[in-house]
């Protein structure tokens, strides 16, 4: 993955292993409905004040990934059909925090 755009990489590009987090604080996961991937939708990261920080489109496997600062974040998922879901998640340096969001 390159970092020369401000924009999103293909959503859902997976970190291959936790060790790849390096010095990053990675929050990643997958959005599912009835156990199947939700391939169309968006994952938004909000800071502890509720302000928007970043957003990625979901990957074909329903995946998303953020490189956050350490701390507490809210992950909000938007999908067709007015679907909204939220999870509070903590990010730590050198760690990949995984979560699955069922909608």
């Amino acid at each position: 993955m390159t970092a020369d755009g401000c924009g999103a990489p293909a959503g859902g590009a997976q970190v291959s292993a936790a060790a790849d987090a390096g010095s990053q604080a990675v929050v990643q996961g997958r959005v599912t409905r009835n156990g199947s991937a939700v391939p169309v939708g968006y994952a938004r990261l909000l800071n502890s004040g509720g302000d928007f920080v970043a957003e990625v489109p979901l990957g074909e496997d329903g995946g998303f990934r953020f490189f956050a600062a350490p701390g507490s974040w809210t992950l909000r998922v938007l999908a067709p059909g007015d679907v909204r879901a939220e999870r509070v998640v903590s990010a730590d340096l050198g760690k990949v925090t995984e979560l699955e969001v069922a909608v």
Binding site: A3, G7, D51, F52, F66, F67, P80, G81
Partner: protein, 280 residues
């Protein structure tokens, strides 16, 4: 200038995307998004491969822009409707770029690809065939683009709007949170810059907030002096193109420039002043 001069909605696109003289163009940060599915009749412009010089850090020159639009079948009198992912960041960047080279008939699809997708509207994979044109571009409009010397000279006397996230502004992150943290040599922001994240100008579905809400956001809340000239920046200039669009095209502010060198340039310059920490 009213909103209808610079924005169209999804219903308009569904009704007019095939009209003669209307060209729909998708510009995405994820340059493979178009290939997976796009709005019918849309052509693709790759913000990186098509709009950036392959060697120098700069845009393609006038001749290069002419060749690009000619090859994509875009004529000087066509109305270009731009849209893209991530709340139209790169579509706004392309809008600003088209204006830079003098193409006046250009509009954004409000909400971009995200709103279109969330409404489950049609996406297709067929690539339309458009006859080549002989596009003629203008010289770059210097009133729209800021360079580093002007930015440094603007500290304390122009509005500087840093549209990155609060963590990037404060220097805690060097890039948006969905990208690896690398690039500029130093974190922080340009002294006197106001932090108004681009996202505050957009609704959750990617559409722009109302003019009244936008005026309140930049004026009352952020304290921009609308009587002064303004320079917007982010990390590489596409989120700030979104804010440039808001200030210049929606709110009609006369002297607004986008600093596309942005933090990746400023944060690597030797000797320039930098502030860190949250906004004052």
């Amino acid at each position: 200038m009213s909103r209808s001069d610079v924005l169209v909605d999804a219903d308009w696109v569904e009704a007019h995307a095939g009209d003669p003289g209307v060209v729909l163009v998708e510009v995405d940060e994820d340059t493979s998004a178009y290939d997976k599915g796009h709005i019918r009749n849309a052509v693709k412009i790759d913000w990186k491969a098509d709009l950036q010089d392959p060697v120098r850090r700069d845009f393609v020159d006038r001749a290069g822009f002419e060749a690009l639009l000619s090859e994509r079948g875009i004529a000087n009198d066509d109305t270009v409707i731009l849209y893209g992912g991530n709340n139209n960041w790169f579509a706004a960047y392309a809008y600003w770029y088209f204006k830079l080279y003098g193409h006046d008939r250009v509009k954004l699809l409000d909400g971009g690809r995200k709103k279109w997708e969330l409404e489950s509207r049609e996406l297709v994979t067929e690539v339309p065939h458009r006859e080549k044109t002989s596009y003629h571009a203008q010289e770059q409009d210097a009133s729209l683009r800021a360079f580093r010397d002007e930015v440094v000279a603007s500290i304390g006397n122009k509005n500087l709007v840093d549209v990155r996230s609060p963590d990037e502004f404060a220097g805690r992150l060097l890039a948006p949170a969905h990208l690896p943290q690398e690039q500029a040599q130093r974190g922080g922001h340009i002294p006197t810059a106001k932090n108004v994240p681009w996202s505050k100008a957009a609704e959750e579905d990617g559409t722009f907030k109302s003019d009244d809400a936008l005026r309140a956001l930049y004026g009352d809340e952020a304290g921009l002096d609308f009587g002064r000239d303004t320079i917007a920046y982010c990390r590489i200039g596409e989120r700030s193109a979104h804010t440039w669009f808001v200030l210049h095209e929606l709110l009609g502010q006369p002297n607004v420039k986008n600093y596309d060198g942005s933090w990746t340039e400023y944060g690597s310059l030797v000797g320039v002043p930098i502030e860190v920490g949250d906004g004052k």
